[in-house]
Amino acid sequence: MVPAKERGAWLREWKAELWHVAERQRAHTTAAFVAGAFRDAAILRDDLQPARKRDWQGIVSSPVHFLALLFAAMSVSVGLAFLFPGVRPLLLPAPYRDAHTLVIVSRDGASHSANPSISLGKFRYWQSAAQAVFSDLSFYDVVHKELHLGLGRGVALSVIRASGNLPALLQSPDFPDAGSMNALPKLVLSDAVWRAIFPCRSTRDWKNCFSCRRNGENRWYSKGKRMAFAGEARCVAVGERSAHGRSF
C-alpha cells in the first residue's frame, strides 16, 4: 500500500513503535495498534496522490511544456494516420501540380472512380497522332447502360461522360462560354432519348439548351438562339433549374 519511495522509513517507524507497544500492552491492544498501520498506509498513499496530480497540472499549466505535449500528441497522430492506406495518399503532397484536372489513363478503359478516364490504347494513339501539339485536351467516354423506366419498361442508353472543358474546347459560337456555365453537372439528352423517356410537351419559358442531336449529329446551342438546322428536335438542360423542353 505504501509507495516504494516512502516504504522504508514508514516501515521502520512502525516496527519501532510496535516493539514498544508490544512491550507494554496486551495482545488485543497491539492488534488494534497494528490495524492503525493499515489506515496510516492508506492515508499516506492518498497524501502522495495530489503530489502526482500537481506535477501533471504543472506540465499542463506551463505553456512551453503544454506545447511540447501537444506537438508530441500531434506527431503520434500523424504517424498513426500514415498507417491507414486510405489516409496516406491524402497526407502526401500531390505528385502533379494540377492533379484535379488530370484524366486517368486506365489499362482496360474502365474506371471505378468518378473521374474521367481513357484507355491506355487511346492515349497512345493520341500521342502518336499527327496533331502532336495540343492546346487543350478534352475527353468523353461512351458506356452502355440499361435504364429502367418502371412497370417493366426499360431502354438501352449510350451514355457519354465528358470532361467539363469539352464545350469550351469546341469553341462553337452557339455554345455558352465556359464562364457562363456553373459548376453543376449537365445532362444532355438526344432527341431519340427525349422522345422515348420524357413526355412530349412544349413550353415557352425555355431558356437554356446545351445540346441537341439531329440525324446522328450533335449540335450545341446557347441561350434562346434558334437552332441551326430545320426539322424537329428537342433539347433539355438540367442545371440551374428543372428540366425544360421545347419543340422545334
Partner: protein, 105 residues
C-alpha cells in the same frame, strides 16, 4: 498576526501533546487517547506542513537499551505559532494537556 494554518481539534491536540513533551507516536497515543490510525497520519501531515520535525534516535543509544531506535518529534517555530493560534481557538487544549512545570533553579 501571522498566517498560521487552521488546525482541526485533533491535529491541534496532537501538536499540543508533542509540545508538552510527548515526543514519539505511542506516547502521543497514550496522552491523547487517539488510535494509531489517527495519530501517525496526523503527525506525518504536521511534519509535511513544517509544524513539527522528526529525528531518528541514535542507533547507539537504542542498542544499549536493546531496542529499536525511535523516531522523535519536536515542534518547530512555525508549529509553536500555529499552536498558540489553535489554543485561542480551542481553549480547552491547555487543560487537556497541561505543559510540564518548568523547574526553576
Amino acid at each position: 498576526m501571522g498566517a498560521e494554518a487552521k488546525l482541526s481539534h485533533t491535529a491541534a491536540l496532537i501538536l499540543r501533546a508533542i509540545s508538552a513533551g510527548y515526543i514519539y507516536g505511542f506516547s502521543v497515543m497514550e496522552m491523547t487517547g487517539l488510535p494509531s490510525g489517527t495519530v501517525y497520519p496526523a503527525m506525518r501531515r504536521l511534519e509535511r506542513d513544517g509544524l513539527i520535525q522528526s529525528k531518528w534516535e541514535a542507533e547507539a543509544i537504542a542498542a544499549v537499551e536493546q531496542r529499536p531506535p525511535r523516531k522523535y518529534y519536536k515542534v518547530t517555530r512555525a508549529g509553536k505559532a500555529t499552536l498558540d493560534a489553535s489554543i485561542k481557538r480551542y481553549p480547552l487544549l491547555e487543560k487537556m494537556i497541561p505543559l510540564p512545570e518548568v523547574e526553576h533553579a
